[in-house]
């Protein structure tokens, strides 16, 4: 019996090539599209608050005056003044969402292999879970910070952030895909552990920006993240299912 192929290394089967193509096209197109839309939402809702906070960071505006009466003007600089800066933001947003898309599409591939169906509507739920894992759960320990906020050392915060994202993803994945009843004990543990451990914090408040500005910023970061992640899940699942049919 002759071997079916003459490749020195295992030949990629048509199905495998199909899978690779499916992963790459879904991730890149969905990531760039969601990233650019996310950046436009951020330029509208979030970046002006960052630029306003920089006025307090640099001392051009002072909110907490020495006489103890906090008060300052409201209003952000125009986003049209620094076009290059915002082009970078759009570019990096596209890169970041492409990274998220690679993780999500790898998840699609694993879920498909395990016999779960991917549909655009389910893609939206995947997106919601992404927003919970990457933005909302970590924000419980470390709320998004305006420029000028002084936090603990950056590396321990990054480690806590990534641990929180991974543990939250494990918890959510168990709830979504693990049918065993012990999930109702293990998943909450995964979801709670990062918060029981607690994020690194300083013992002192240093904020120079008004509390209103910081709270507006946090709320908008979360809102924009939710919309952007839903779009990412929807786009990725749409392209994924289309290329599956092709």
């Amino acid at each position: 019996m002759t071997p079916p192929t003459t490749c020195a290394t295992p030949c990629p089967s048509p199905a495998t090539k199909q899978m690779l193509k499916q992963i790459l096209t879904s991730a890149v197109f969905a990531g760039v599209a969601a990233g650019v839309l996310a950046a436009l939402l951020q330029l509208w809702l979030v970046v002006p608050l960052i630029m306003e906070a920089e006025l307090f960071e640099s001392g051009q505006r002072v909110h907490f005056a020495a006489d103890g009466s906090p008060q300052s003007d409201r209003g952000a600089p125009s986003v049209w003044d620094e076009p290059l800066r915002h082009i970078y933001t759009i570019g990096f947003s596209a890169v970041t969402f492409t990274a998220y898309a690679f993780f999500m599409v790898a998840g699609f591939a694993l879920a498909t292999r395990a016999g779960h169906e991917i549909t655009p509507r389910r893609g939206i739920v995947w997106g919601l879970c992404g927003a919970i894992a990457v933005v909302i759960a970590p924000a419980i320990g470390m709320p998004p910070e305006l420029p000028g906020a002084i936090g603990a050392e950056v590396v321990p915060r990054q480690v806590w952030y990534l641990s929180c994202v991974v543990l939250t993803l494990i918890g959510l994945t168990q709830i979504a895909f693990d049918g065993r009843s012990r999930v109702w004990i293990t998943a909450p543990i995964f979801l709670l552990v990062p918060h029981l451990m607690g994020a690194p914090h300083l013992d002192t408040y240093f904020g120079v920006a008004p509390a209103e500005l910081a709270s507006e910023f946090v709320a908008r970061v979360m809102g924009v993240a939710l919309i952007s992640w839903v779009l990412l899940g929807l786009f990725a699942a749409l392209i994924w299912t289309r290329s599956e049919e092709a």
Binding site: A15, M19, I23, Y88, S93, Y100, A106, P138, P144, Q158
Partner: protein
């Protein structure tokens, strides 16, 4: 003969499954590289250009 065919079919499906896993692992690796560069690297040129995005996406920035 039948066993041989079965064995070949099994090997083929195993290579396909392994190659699929390589594709998935490659996707995760690419995602990690992009995410590290955009969100976590502290090199100042990356930090400065990605600054607003990092704040807006709630990465720990500085």
């Amino acid at each position: 003969m039948n066993e041989n065919v079965q064995a070949i079919a099994q090997t083929q499906s195993k290579t396909r499954v392994d190659a699929d896993m390589m594709g998935i692992a490659g996707a995760v690796l690419l995602g990690l590289v992009l995410l590290f560069a955009a969100g976590f690297a502290q090199a100042s040129v990356l930090h400065d250009t990605a600054h607003d995005m990092r704040h807006a996406m709630s990465f720990p920035c500085h």
